[in-house]
């Protein structure tokens, strides 16, 4: 598997993605910090280790597919795509601008975006369709869908959760970025969805629970998913909303709050990833 970053630790890449996220959000004066930062290791593990992809051939038919069902985490998705070489990092500065490929929520016109998303609850169904289609074509690619835990409140997720095991889709992996916080507050208060892992088990999925900020653990869980035959895998990744920036952690206040210049400076100082530009 070609990986230009094989000499760099996944943890370092995730850290770097956080810096890019904060800069992107500040430059755009829009976007969702909390749920982007919580997913940094998940996307790092997928795009820099797990997935069979080739940034030079974003439409390669045999590639693994990725769907960011929690589409509001687009900034960390774009950071990962840029860092992986799908487009130049400078393009991140066009996020949310007129005519940009980097829309507020992911759009398939953007290289590396396999499915448009944004309206919550829809990605797993689409991933299920992709997994069915790839199997029908005898392509051994896998489909990874990242969902938020708040997103699990959408009924369609459970329609898809019911259907995927029926079809024995072992080429489908759902990863829940379980950061326990949503726009209005703690998920437990807004609408409790725990026990998350037990719900997926009850729907006949192969379920793994991991520390969502441990890239190696996510990589290993994805490998275990590949070994599991005859049913899909759900990886419940325990994460911290706003991870890496102390004042953004574990609070709904940074679900979609504005990252001002001051905030960016403080955040980047904490992250210590690069000079403030």
């Amino acid at each position: 598997m070609a990986n230009p970053d094989r000499d760099e630790s996944l943890a370092e890449i995730a850290h770097d993605l956080r810096g890019l996220v904060v800069e992107t959000l500040c430059h755009a004066q829009a976007g969702h910090p909390g749920g982007s930062l919580s997913a940094a290791e998940i996307l790092t593990a997928l795009f820099f280790s797990v997935m069979r992809i080739d940034p030079r051939r974003p439409d390669w038919v045999e590639r693994d597919r990725f769907i960011l069902s929690k589409g509001h985490a687009a900034p960390v998705y774009y950071a990962a795509l840029a860092r992986r070489g799908y487009f130049p990092e400078e393009m991140l500065q066009t996020y949310d601008e007129l005519d940009s490929l980097l829309q507020g929520h992911p759009d398939m016109r953007c290289p590396g975006v396999d499915m448009s998303s944004g309206s919550l609850g829809q990605g797993l169904s689409v991933g299920l369709g992709m997994a069915l289609g790839l199997r029908l074509k005898a392509i051994d690619a896998r489909v990874f869908v990242v969902l938020g835990d708040g997103e699990l409140q959408e009924g369609q997720v459970w329609e898809a959760a019911m259907a995927a095991p029926k079809f024995g889709l072992d080429n489908l992996v759902a990863i829940v970025d379980d950061n326990r916080v949503q726009l209005m507050g703690d998920t437990a208060a807004v609408m409790p969805i725990e026990p998350v892992a037990e719900k997926w088990r009850a729907f006949n999925w192969h379920v793994l629970e991991v520390d969502g900020h441990d890239p190696a653990a996510i990589v290993e869980a994805c490998a275990a998913a590949a070994r599991e035959k005859g049913r899909p895998t759900a990886i419940v990744a325990r994460t911290v909303k706003g991870k890496g920036v102390s004042f953004m952690e574990n609070t709904h206040k940074w679900h979609c709050a504005l990252v001002t210049g001051d905030v960016m400076e403080k955040a980047l100082t904490e992250l210590c990833v690069r000079e403030v530009r």
Partner: protein, 318 residues
């Protein structure tokens, strides 16, 4: 004796023939394939038929995923559920990324087998027509239904395909050249233009026959593709007589009547009457009773045409 064919029968057989020709064609169902006759495809190609259960939102998303990896999926439910239960899935996962999914709507209009307002669809055209990238096709008879199945599969973009349950008169010849977006001139006439979509074309032909006895000549244009509307054909048909009746088994708001009024309002303002459901919920009853009560018979088209002609004869009267 007019030959009668149910669109759903034509649809089911056409899907099988399409499936034999085109391996990209797959089908997803929300537990209604035997009603729509998609079941014929399921029997012929079990490996390309995916039963998703009573879960239209998931079914619609699955179709988007299948399309994203190169298939041409047909979804299946009653028209009301296919378009309304899963509207946001159609919008976000199909229409916005412009994926070539065919949204199959069975049992459209009022004739939903005595099931009543919950299972009738009188707002589906309006809702689907408002979605950018969405094409709306409502075949008028079995011949068109068959031709439409092949045409939409090659269209390369999202299509809402509106079907009906019960037998309808066959209007078109097998040799008829059906093209998405091109309206069909069914009859040349001089007094009043009638523009139809879906199975109202058969009732409009009957209306034309009734009026011909009185010496009134209807100019009959059939708009199987409500979107994109064949504006040139609609304008030309309006110019032919200067009076336009639209006829659809759908609410008078937002469907064919709305589309024609929009086009004529901009290009060729023309006195109009819209035959359709008068913005009310219907009920469960026998087909003929429903069509009579909710104003969808040949007689209602006749009345609308006469009324326009009377207005023209005495333009100062209200």
């Amino acid at each position: 004796m007019v030959e009668m064919v149910a669109l759903r029968d034509a649809y089911g057989h056409a899907l099988v023939d399409l499936g034999e020709q085109d391996e990209r064609v797959v089908a997803v169902d929300a537990d209604l394939a035997s009603s729509s006759k998609m079941s014929l495809f399921a029997e012929a190609f079990p490996e390309r038929f995916f039963q998703m259960g009573i879960a239209e939102q998931n079914m619609t998303g699955v179709a988007a995923g299948l399309a994203a990896v190169g298939f041409v999926p047909f979804t299946n439910s009653f028209a009301c559920f296919a378009t309304l239960r899963a509207t946001d899935q159609i919008r976000t996962s199909i229409a916005q990324p412009r994926l070539p999914v065919i949204i199959g709507g069975a049992y459209s209009g009022l004739l939903a087998g005595k099931t009543g307002k919950t299972h009738q669809a009188i707002e589906d055209i309006a809702v689907m027509r408002a979605l950018p990238n969405m094409t709306v096709v409502a075949p008028g008879d079995g011949v068109e239904a068959r031709k439409a199945v092949f045409a939409v599969a090659d269209y390369g973009a999202p299509v809402y395909l509106r079907m009906t349950r019960d037998p309808s008169p066959v209007v078109f010849e097998e040799s008829y050249d059906f093209r998405i977006g091109r309206a069909a001139l069914v009859r040349e006439g001089t007094d009043v233009t009638v523009i139809t979509t879906g199975v109202m074309v058969g009732r409009a032909v009957a209306a034309a026959d009734l009026l011909a006895v009185e010496g009134v000549s209807l100019h009959l244009l059939h708009v199987h593709t409500v979107k994109p509307l064949d504006v040139a054909a609609v304008v030309a048909a309006a110019e032919k007589t200067g009076l336009v009746v639209t006829a659809e088994e759908h609410n008078v708001i937002g469907g064919l009547g709305g589309a024609v009024a929009e086009a004529l309002g901009e290009h060729r303002p023309t006195p109009m009457k819209r035959v359709g459901v008068a913005d009310v919920w219907s009920e469960s009853a026998a087909n003929d009773d429903l069509l009579q009560k909710y104003g969808l018979t040949a007689g209602h088209i006749v009345q609308a045409a006469r009324s326009l002609m009377e207005q023209r004869a005495a333009p100062t009267q209200p």
